[in-house]
Subunit: 560 residues, 2 copies
């Protein structure tokens, strides 16, 4: 049994004495230790007590507070109320309808109060969304306050995590206060639906798991070299010819809408990635002349390289294509990729060589890459979208909009110096390097994943040091503010519907806490204890999260 | 498209010209390439042709041949007929009852002929079981011959693997002859139900997958330090107190019976392992005085070590316990463990020290271990069971029955020299060292798994070289005959119901082929092509086998 009462306030972790009056303020209140409670990710501030209340599926309600700006017409919240009601009471085998008696220590209501004028019921979450919430669990009514529905969703998750079964199976919650907000605004998971197609069911289940872990970005790496499962209305041949199968292995517009709406209901943004000019082999199957013909000596070899950057038709295609993308995906950002461009095919092509001469690029093909990316960025900018790019685009010196987000993934140079460099240049940065969850090894690799931190870099990078001296000394803090978060990446070479979910969870949960909780929450031992229980909770909610180590859950996963 | 006709005969792989008469002997026969067929493990000898027959769920039957010694009362075969009928026709969405017409090229029957007097319908497979079969697929009747039901099961699996859907969705099989038998008699999978409890459903599904891969031994590492889920009728407290939970996390006698019968129906032996004297922490919870009390200085520390080898009560317990085990598990062998005994607790205990003196063991605690094992082996021998032990028991020089099987698992010394040493001493050996499938790494590790071979050692080991010169020079061949096979081990530290099945398959399939097919079948490229299809076949049969690499299956796994 751990400390009965905890106060975690920012970087402080104090065990405080609970005054008797508070503990035993009401005759008949039960005294219950909260061994079964395990919050994940850990809230920024919370205070719990041994005073326990019971909840009955017959009487307990989640309702809109009187002074909430949201009401029953807010279907996002209504859906969330239902979801969390089921999570809380799924243990209950049958409802005893004859039991009307309300016990002394029963909690009958959770009131949800949205405080801002616009609850954003029909909106989409964004990078600037306020996800904070305050939760006060007390008898007879618990109150959850948030300025909008997004914070309410996070608070409902926390509320449901506070509920446990006592030794007699009674659904129980302890008197608790929580004040919570995320450390980082961008907390993402990348899934790759090109190397293996992922059935819709798998994507939705993982969105559900994301919500349980307070992730808020689904980075949908939807197409790549291997297949093009996105059905474009403008260019249907892309999937007709580029998908593994034109009917069974594609995401139709209805499928994509469903993913976006399912995600929205859980406060999750969907950021689609259409990676160019490399990683585009599958695009070439359904779009003639898009890719560069490679040459063997003086004749075309029949194979193709990256997107052909020297044809106007390429930019016309991209203009139409990204116009469609900008309407299909409501998020303010689109991920444009830009990683791992192989220059060998460009080098082999005489037309490209001629163009390089004309542009005075010499033999520097990264200039050609930048030329392409620059034109692409202008095209996307015209659709009023912001963009995310992999770090190469920044490294190659492409001119970027101020709000561009640079996605750090490479192992060399080390990610700390890269994060420093990007933020020193004033750009938003997000980290994935230590979080390539496709890479597996034997043992408890979640610990290394848990320890990595997007703000572990040391202020300005060396090359900026000189410049910095002309400004104030707050450079470091300013830089760290530019870190918007990170993403777990699960590249698809070795995962599909058979093994993706247990490979992702609970390893991604480690990242969830890193990105949500206070930076001082980093004790691996405490995390282990909580994460074991959190994993069992995910099992209980139908997510086949794999075990951390030897042990068991009261209710094992019962499928294959 | 590969060679249309193949003859694989032992180490020969010849492309032969098929004479026209054979190919087109019958007017109306269809010519169909067999791109979709992918046999796994590869039969010892087979010859297939482009002549294709169709099968209809309305007319096709699997029947007992007239001169078979087995008939409809052989429920093992009746069950297998049903299972393979469903595998073959699960593609068919509905049966068109109005279609009575039999086409010219239809195959309507598979006759199963058991040739020996006793078909062994109600028996159990054993180490000496003849699993060979001959399969002749021709119109209008295919014939499967085997001396007993066990060979018939293997042949039914092969028959089902020969069936494919042609381009128009017709269920098709090509004229083919197969003559097949396993290279090794012992082809096992170890599952560990102690570190994590595995629900019955998971065990049964993996037995199903084993049959699809022609594995024939389920090594049930049923108890260990962490939990004791085996419900013993004689000592019910062992699971009552030693299981993770006395009701939800135990295998009742009925459960164990079901596992054994489910396995038997698939030609799989169930060999239970009750590992002592180490790995027994969970035994101590329900059996007082079984484990050695550890001392801290001159007082008991409250912790316990391995089984206490100096008390008569220990051997009385073991006698009763293994008497029960010998009746619960019908197999002729029981695995007695004997690995990784930690001597520190024994060393700390003054009673043990006194006993060591009395026995003149000096400070050599491996002598004490051997003393225990020797007495245990005598106890088990009295139950008329053979035994398997981990290699330490052999390494420590314990006196073993001639039919003892030594299980090689350690990385040092290298397994080749250990296999050589064991077989030079005349004992049966089986290999697991390269097949610890719990160990994972990023990438296509199935290739290394596939390449390992239990007979890769070089004849006699050095220390036996002198002795050998007194005998004939066939020592090496004689030694290799003593290799009975191998086992894939999936230890349970990091696997449970959530991730076990995809972690095991198709990686264990690589071992299946190594242990069944001819030793010359070792081309990784050919294996890759077939294994990809075999993996898709497992998906189709409901086994969530993970992908080898980028790609897709026509029918993806549709659960979580």
């Amino acid at each position: 049994m751990h400390a009965l009462t905890r106060l975690i306030f920012g970087s402080l972790l104090l065990t405080v004495t609970v005054c008797n009056g508070w503990l035993y303020g009401r005759f008949g209140e039960r005294y219950q230790e909260t061994d079964d409670v395990s919050l994940w990710p850990l809230p920024q501030k919370y205070q719990t007590t041994p005073t326990a209340f019971t909840l009955s599926a017959n009487t307990f309600q989640i309702v809109h507070a009187k002074d909430s700006s949201a009401g029953p017409s807010c279907s996002l919240l209504q859906n969330a109320f239902r979801r969390y009601f089921i999570y809380i009471f799924d243990y209950v085998k049958k409802h005893r309808a004859d039991q009307d008696k309300v016990s002394d220590t029963e909690m009958t209501e959770l009131q949800v109060q949205i405080t801002s004028t616009d609850p954003e019921c029909d909106g989409y979450p964004s990078l600037k969304t306020d996800e904070s919430y305050q939760l006060s669990v007390n008898q007879p009514t618990a109150v959850l306050k948030a300025s909008n529905v997004w914070g309410a969703l996070r608070g409902l998750e926390t509320f449901s995590q506070l509920v446990y079964e006592d030794d007699y199976g009674a659904i129980t919650i302890n008197k608790t206060d929580v004040s919570d907000f995320p450390r980082f605004a961008h907390r993402g998971i990348l899934l790759d639906t090109s190397r293996h197609f992922l059935p819709l069911k798998v994507i939705l289940a993982n969105l559900e798991a994301m919500a349980i872990n307070k992730f808020n970005v689904f980075h949908w790496h939807i197409v790549d070299d291997n297949s093009f499962p996105f059905l474009s209305r403008t260019f249907p041949d892309l999937s007709q010819r580029g998908a593994y199968h034109p009917y069974t292995h594609v995401y139709t517009p209805a499928d994509v809408k469903m993913v976006i709406e399912f995600a929205r209901m859980r406060g999750i943004r969907v950021i689609a990635e259409f990676d160019t000019p490399g990683h585009t082999q599958s695009w070439g199957k359904g779009q003639a002349n898009l890719l560069t013909p490679c040459y063997s000596g003086s004749t075309p070899s029949g194979t193709f390289g990256p997107v052909n950057p020297i044809l106007n038709s390429t930019y016309e295609f991209m203009t139409s294509f990204f116009k469609e993308i900008s309407t299909v995906f409501p998020d303010a950002y689109v991920h444009l990729g830009g990683d791992e461009v192989d220059f060998s095919c460009w080098k082999s092509n005489p037309d490209i060589q001629k163009f390089m001469e004309q542009q005075s690029f010499g033999q520097d093909y990264s200039k050609l890459e930048s030329y392409y990316i620059q034109r692409l960025l202008d095209i996307v900018k015209a659709t009023n979208k912001g963009y995310m790019v992999w770090q190469e685009v920044f490294d190659n010196g492409v001119k970027l909009k101020a709000d561009t987000q640079i996605h750090v993934w490479k192992e060399k140079p080390d990610y700390n110096s890269e994060m420093a460099k990007i933020t020193a240049a004033g750009f938003h940065a997000l980290l994935s390097t230590p979080w390539y969850l496709n890479r597996i090894s034997y043992g408890q690799d979640w610990q290394g994943i848990y320890k990595a931190d997007p703000q572990s870099f040391n202020g300005v990078c060396s090359i900026m040091l000189y410049i910095r001296t002309f400004f104030d000394s707050s450079g470091t803090a300013e830089q760290k503010k530019l870190v918007i978060g990170g993403e777990a990446c699960l590249w698809g070479e070795y995962v599909d519907a058979t093994n993706l979910t247990p490979r992702l969870w609970p390893r991604a949960s480690a990242i969830a806490e890193r990105l949500w909780s206070n930076e001082n929450v980093k004790d691996v031992g405490s995390a282990y204890t909580r994460l074991i229980k959190h994993r069992c909770r995910m099992l209980r909610r139908g997510i086949p999260a794999e075990p951390l180590f030897v042990g068991f859950c009261p209710h094992e996963y019962d499928s294959l």
